[in-house]
């Protein structure tokens, strides 16, 4: 019981801090502020632990929870001085059509099943996955015991991959503060709450501009990708990378909707892309790089965005580069595997790359839908069809950029072995599939909904 209450206290602190930040930054309502609280809290937490890492301050309840409490207090004081106007864009209501009701029931059912699976495997059952017991949760435990982030060059203590950025580990370490010894349930529970909040925030952000039904269907299609549903059991950081990038895309899309909060929404998008960089090495190539390219495109095409875009890009770089510089200075590999930079064509991977997406079970029929919908959107874009949101269209490029990058990585480098043995190729393809589904969701304009 004490253990649970301690965890609940830490969680409440992080949620309060994140919710206040969200309210300050995005002027969001209570629901969105609460949903997006932990994604914000996870970033402030990793930046705090990074600061303590470079200054060699031990990771203790005081050094970790103290600054979080101060930050929450500062945000609270600042918020008291601000007048937050009520939500200007009303959230769409669920249509009363039979089809709408049926879709709502099916989507709710699917989300409930995924949540049940996630809750039971993350909280009721212990850590299970092989890499969790080495690279991920094990490294968190070793760091918690050491009171410093562990960068063990050998596996003598059971942890591997010191070159991984540590947002995942940092959150698990903070969630364990106040516990007598490492608490596996607390470590996984905080990640469960992070996932829950992230997907709820994606839903609410999309619902704000496209209506609830539209958002519900899009969120269900993303969460229901079979491989992604399984990763909601936690233990690997791929799901956290997906969440950060989805939130970054949702905030970027919101910034283009002319709601009068562009600067803040671009800044939020920048913060989440920095979160992605701090979550996995792939965050740079799948997140920061395409995000900068897309932002640059908008800045070039829309002069009104230019100033805010430059500010957001500056923030994203300022928050992301410290990890890269730190890793480089420490002599850590900047890629997950040291052989990643040897380029040559591996034709033997072509079959698996194709059939892995189109005939195996990891993605269901998501890629059939994505190829078809992208083709459809291209056609409608060329016809200047009013049913698509032209400003959201470049967001598709983000997903396809990641898709092509992954194909390059697995067909042009020795990583082909992780394609042929059915390993990381499938985990990484979760990123473009979910990004593309959300981008497609933003590309269609809101259908006028009947108000009940």
């Amino acid at each position: 019981m004490t253990s649970f209450l301690t965890f609940a206290g830490v969680l409440a602190l992080l949620l309060t801090e994140g919710a206040l930040l969200a309210r300050l930054l995005l002027r969001s309502n209570l629901r969105l502020s609460l949903a997006i609280a932990l994604p914000f809290g996870a970033l402030t937490n990793v930046l705090l632990i990074f600061l303590w890492t470079i200054t060699s301050v031990p990771l203790t309840p005081i050094s970790l929870l103290g600054p979080h409490a101060l930050l929450a207090l500062a945000f609270g004081i600042r918020l008291r001085k601000e007048t937050i106007p009520p939500e200007s864009t009303p959230v769409g209501t669920v249509p009363r059509t039979r089809a709408g009701t049926a879709i709502t029931i099916i989507c709710s059912l699917l989300l409930a099943v995924a949540s049940t699976y996630s809750f039971s495997h993350a909280i009721l059952l212990p850590t299970f996955q092989y890499d969790s017991a080495t690279n991920w949760t094990m490294r968190s435990q070793v760091s918690f015991t050491d009171r410093h982030i562990a960068f063990d060059p050998t596996e003598d203590r059971g942890m591997a991959k010191p070159q991984y950025p540590f947002l995942f580990h940092a959150l698990q370490i903070t969630a364990n503060q106040g516990q007598a010894r490492w608490n596996d349930t607390a470590a996984n529970a905080i990640l469960f709450v992070l996932s829950l909040g992230s997907f709820a925030a994606v839903f609410l952000l999309l619902a704000r501009s496209r209506g609830r039904l539209h958002a519900l269907v899009t969120t269900t299609l993303i969460v229901g990708i079979p491989q992604l549903s399984l990763h909601l059991a936690q233990g690997y950081a791929d799901i956290n990378l997906v969440q950060s990038l989805l939130l970054s895309l949702a905030c970027l899309a919101a910034a283009l909707e002319e709601t009068g909060r562009r600067r803040a929404e671009l800044l939020a998008s920048a913060l989440f892309v920095a979160s992605a960089v701090w979550t996995k090495s792939e965050g740079v190539v799948f997140g920061l790089l395409p995000w900068l390219l897309i932002l640059g495109t908008y800045a070039w095409k829309l002069p009104s965005v230019r100033r805010d875009a430059c500010f957001a890009a500056g923030v994203a770089l300022a928050l992301s580069l410290p990890w890269e510089l730190f890793a480089w200075a420490k002599g850590l590999s900047l890629t997950p595997h040291s052989s990643d930079t040897m380029v040559s064509f591996h034709a033997e991977g072509l079959g698996d790359a194709f059939f892995g997406l189109m005939s195996r079970g990891s993605f269901g029929i998501a890629w059939y839908v994505l190829f078809a919908v992208t083709g459809l959107l291209l056609m409608l874009f060329r016809q200047r069809d009013p049913r698509i949101e032209r400003r959201s269209f470049p967001l598709l490029a983000w997903g396809w950029f990641i898709f092509l990058t992954i194909l390059f990585i697995y067909l042009m480098t020795p990583n082909v072995r992780f394609l042929l043995n059915g390993e990381s190729y499938y985990r990484q393809m979760m990123v473009p599939s979910s990004i593309l589904l959300l981008a497609c969701g933003y590309c269609f304009v809101r259908k006028r909904e009947r108000v009940s």
């Binding site: 079970g361 059939y368 390993e423």
Partner: protein
């Protein structure tokens, strides 16, 4: 699934005296009921390979949903069967297994439709036959395929679509996908919805065309997800039941309970806790044990046996202990040959020993 390929590679000469179609058919062979099951985890195969030293393989060809085998054997024969999709390739998730019991002469009907790779028509099947001893007296008297009716084919199709997705939570990387009658369900549904969407684009009137096309694409996706959600619920139930009621969590077995015991035994810190893991197979459970007992020193390296204070025997076929519960005896397992006290036996068969005192073999 990784270890299924091992079965295929084992084409040892016939160690057991198995001779296909070697004897004339006898008319009054007893009919036995043998139910084949899908091979849905690699530990089952690993265990079979460890326990059965004699192995052979053969390829059968025929058209039918039932494989009728008349045979005799003086010891049980474990059979692994998979339809071949090309000259030598197969889909690992198509493997089925069954055991032929001891008999002087009997006939069994094996339902081939259990394998999602089965389909009507002429096919080649790869069989691996395993027995415990190399001098087993076993022979196949007659083998024939019994044809499938339309009803049986339809029943097989439905059964295949509802065959659970093979998955264990330790493997987060790839799902093989559902298959029916040897066809990928993903590919079939994907192509079907693309065709349906194309038809909508051609036939539905202009104002509703986009809605119709999107409805088909989204509907297809939700249909697949509904099918997968059945498996998500099944995984949840199986894992929770196994863990809460039986102390076994899928492939991790009882490693969590072993870890809890080790933590309690070493919490006073009076003796250095070095735990020697004696195991066959992969180091998966060893890694988990290291995580759950950190900072205890857990190792399967032979060098660590000399300083080890505890030993855990897990997934080990050949080992011995001549003492009894709570009584000293000699533990012989891998590099270990020392007196020990047996402390606990766990639901998955793992055994925890206290080593008293360590006495290396060499």
């Amino acid at each position: 699934m990784l270890h299924l390929s091992k079965l295929y590679r084992h084409t040892f000469p016939l160690a057991l005296a198995l001779s296909l179609w070697s004897l004339p058919l006898t008319s009054n062979a007893q009919v036995l009921h043998v139910r084949p099951t899908l091979v849905d985890n690699s530990s089952m195969v690993e265990q079979a390979l460890r326990e059965n030293t004699a192995r052979t393989s053969t390829v059968l060809e025929g058209n039918g949903s039932l494989l009728q085998i008349t045979y005799r054997s003086n010891e049980p024969i474990e059979v692994y069967l998979v339809p071949l999709v090309a000259e030598k390739s197969f889909v690992p998730t198509d493997y089925v297994r069954f055991t032929l019991p001891i008999t002087q002469e009997s006939t069994v009907n094996i339902d081939l439709t259990v394998s999602p790779g089965w389909s009507p028509g002429n096919h080649r099947y790869y069989l691996s036959l395993l027995s415990r001893t190399e001098n087993a007296d076993a022979a196949f008297v007659r083998v024939q395929f019994l044809p499938a009716s339309a009803g049986q084919t339809l029943k097989a199709l439905v059964r295949h679509i509802f065959t659970p997705e093979p998955y264990t939570p330790s493997s987060y990387h790839v799902l093989r996908g559902y298959r029916f009658l040897g066809i990928s369900f993903t590919a079939a549904l994907g192509v079907l919805i693309l065709l349906a969407a194309t038809l909508c684009a051609l036939l539905v009137r202009r104002g509703r065309r986009l809605t119709a096309v999107l409805a088909v694409l989204i509907g297809g996706s939700l249909l697949y997800q509904l099918r997968f959600s059945i498996d998500l619920l099944r995984f949840t139930k199986e894992h929770l039941t196994g863990y809460e009621l039986h102390g076994i969590y899928d492939e991790a077995g009882s490693v969590h309970v072993v870890a809890e015991n080790l933590r309690i035994l070493t919490q006073d810190g009076r003796q250095p806790a070095i735990v020697y893991v004696c195991r066959d197979g992969t180091n998966f459970k060893e890694k988990l044990l290291r995580y759950f007992t950190y900072p205890l020193h857990i190792s399967a390296e032979a060098e660590s046996r000399e300083s080890a204070t505890f030993a855990v025997v897990m997934d080990k076929l050949r080992w011995s202990f001549d003492g009894t519960e709570k009584r000293e005896g000699t533990l012989r397992c891998g590099a270990l040959d020392t007196s020990a006290e047996k402390l606990s036996v766990f639901p998955d068969g793992s055994v925890l020993f206290r080593l008293l005192p360590p006495s290396p073999k060499s």
